[in-house]
């Protein structure tokens, strides 16, 4: 089932688009995961990254590719993506937990320390998550980036939180 049929991305589609991240890179800490598998004319993510870690090039409809070794996991691209299609995954957050930093444009904005239900790409609750960081500087232009900590096994599944 493709995203066009069901409205959410599968792991196979990410692999086919060469947007999956290697285990070796995950082991090193936070990294941007771009989930953008359709050729649409859009490239602000490429310009957002000052480390040159996101490549689109010409034509503008090329799929974005993460250059794993250049990505510092800083998260500047997350709020820049008009499709809200980038998250920062940190599988090395702790021995038991991983974090996912995702764009969240609903009200209320979560607060650090709160517990929210973490959801997957289909909006299905996976587990409880603890909000460990909320960034909303002017440069993000009203797209807060929320970091949630979840048990490690959900790192590839959790992509947002359930709206309250």
């Amino acid at each position: 089932m493709s995203i066009k049929e069901v409205g959410y991305i599968s792991m196979q589609e990410l692999i086919d688009a060469k947007q999956n991240i290697s285990d070796a890179r995950y082991a090193k800490g936070p990294v941007a995961v771009v989930e953008c598998v359709q050729e649409i004319p859009c490239n602000p993510c490429e310009a957002a990254c000052k480390f040159g870690a996101i490549k689109i090039g010409e034509p503008i409809t090329n799929l974005p590719k993460i250059q794993e070794d250049n990505c510092t996991g800083c998260g500047v691209c997350v709020a820049q993506c008009p499709g809200l299609a980038i998250v920062i995954v940190n599988k090395a957050y702790s021995d038991t937990e991983a974090t996912i930093a995702f764009p969240y444009e609903y009200i209320p904005t979560p607060k650090e320390g709160e517990e929210w239900e973490a959801v997957n790409r289909q909006g299905v609750v996976q587990c409880k998550g603890k909000i460990v960081k909320v960034m909303n500087p002017k440069a993000f232009d009203r797209t807060p980036v929320v970091t949630v900590a979840v048990p490690k096994e959900f790192a590839d599944e959790v992509r947002s939180i359930k709206r309250k």
């Binding site: 493709s2 995203i3 066009k4 049929e5 069901v6 409205g7 959410y8 991305i9 989930e35 953008c36 598998v37 359709q38 050729e39 649409i40 004319p41 859009c42 490239n43 602000p44 310009a47 957002a48 034509p59 503008i60 409809t61 820049q80 993506c81 008009p82 499709g83 809200l84 299609a85 444009e105 609903y106 009200i107 959801v119 997957n120 790409r121 289909q122 909006g123 299905v124 232009d141 009203r142 797209t143 992509r159 947002s160 359930k162 709206r163």
Partner: protein, 374 residues
């Protein structure tokens, strides 16, 4: 009678971009006429960050792009008449405009323009089903205006018909505005709009029913308002499959079933029209200057075929440059150079699986221009 060098009808992205470009290229008096209370057209309710490239202000919210363009137009000295409707044309580029006056009254004004750009945009399509006139059934565009311009929720529980980018984006924005989107319904086997927009809807846990349509809307709510919506699966020939009905409690149905070009003003001129399905209906044929078969009359934006804000903006720029050329403000060589740059960007916007059809449609429409070899 008033005389204007350039009259632009419609102050949306195409008209605004045309006005700015004409002014920048030295056209002295540019009049922009729009029937709305504010200029900016659809940009003024697009609260999401736009796609595209840096040249298209990608990553910037449409509403902010609109505000920036309005400011630029103002600084360049573009004259803007709001609450003013261009109601007709006479021969020789004489326009009849019902001008909105400061005291709220209207005054009929005739003016002669040396050049005209028609950028009247698009209009939402209607879908008919049992109960389609029930209060609470509205266009997705209307719902978007309510939440993003007037800050009013159209309802609490909303069923969206259509999964093009409008249906997906407005569904997301309805949730941002605190409404509950019950589900999205799509007749086609696949989601029409961008996957990244659909992903936002999915992450919010909202189901998208493809190969489905609305069978009936019941109006048993307060004052006869929508109370429930029944959807049904359809076969490949779009016939309902009995026994597959699902009924949801809802107070609002929003229709996002595409748009058609607003071409009434174009039709008042002796301009050749072409029917183009992917572009939404009858559109004026035009050349690479965006000039119609009536010399000195140009078109831009959704009037020339329904696309999106960025293409409208670029086409508006082409029309603005061409008007400047026709008025003698810039040389043909300079105009050609500027147009080539803009067309290159337009080609970029019409690439990929979502752009290809529009690239072909544009070629077809332009191939009908007299003197153009197919």
């Amino acid at each position: 009678m008033l005389n204007k060098q350039l009259l632009i009808v419609g102050a949306g992205p195409a008209g605004l971009a045309a006005a700015i470009e004409a002014k920048k290229n030295g056209v002295k008096d540019v009049l922009l006429v729009d029937l709305n209370m504010k200029a900016g057209g659809q940009l003024m309710k697009q609260i999401h960050k736009f796609f595209g490239s840096k040249e298209h202000r990608a990553g910037v919210r449409g509403i902010d792009t609109g505000a920036a363009m309005l400011k630029e137009a103002e600084e360049l000295g573009v004259e803007v008449w709001l609450k003013s409707t261009c109601v007709g044309f006479f021969d020789d580029k004489v326009a009849c405009i019902e001008k909105g006056m400061e005291d709220g009254s209207k005054k009929i004004i005739y003016l002669k323009a040396e050049t005209i750009i028609i950028a009247t945009g698009g209009q939402e399509n209607v879908v008919r089903f049992k109960g389609w006139t029930t209060p609470g059934v509205m266009g997705a565009g209307a719902a978007q205006t309510m939440i993003n311009v007037n800050k009013v929720q159209p309802g609490q529980n909303i069923v969206m018909l259509g999964t093009g980018n409008v249906g997906l984006i407005v569904s997301y924005q309805l949730m941002q505005a605190g409404c509950n989107v019950v589900c999205l319904v799509e007749a086609a086997p696949g989601i029409g709009g961008y996957g990244v927009h659909a992903s936002k809807i999915s992450r919010a846990g909202v189901p998208i029913y493809t190969k489905h349509t609305i069978k009936e809307v019941k109006g048993n709510g307060p004052n006869g308002r929508v109370s429930e919506v029944t959807i049904v699966e359809i076969d490949p020939k779009f016939n309902p499959i009995e026994g597959t009905e699902k009924t949801f409690a809802a107070d609002t149905v929003t229709l996002a079933a595409g748009l058609k070009p607003v071409s009434e003003l174009v039709k008042l001129q002796d301009i050749e029209l072409v029917f183009n399905g992917p572009f939404g209906g009858w559109v004026p044929t035009h050349n690479e200057k965006m000039e119609t078969t009536c010399p000195g009359i140009y078109v831009a934006g959704d009037t020339t075929g329904v696309e999106e804000a960025n293409t409208a903006l670029e086409e508006g720029k082409v029309a603005g440059v061409s008007a400047a050329e026709a008025l003698g403000a810039i040389s043909a060589a300079e105009a050609d150079k500027q147009r080539a740059e803009i067309w290159a960007r337009l080609d970029g916007l019409r690439m990929g699986p979502f752009g290809e059809k529009r690239a072909i449609a544009k070629k077809e429409v332009m191939a009908k221009f007299p003197g153009v070899r197919a």
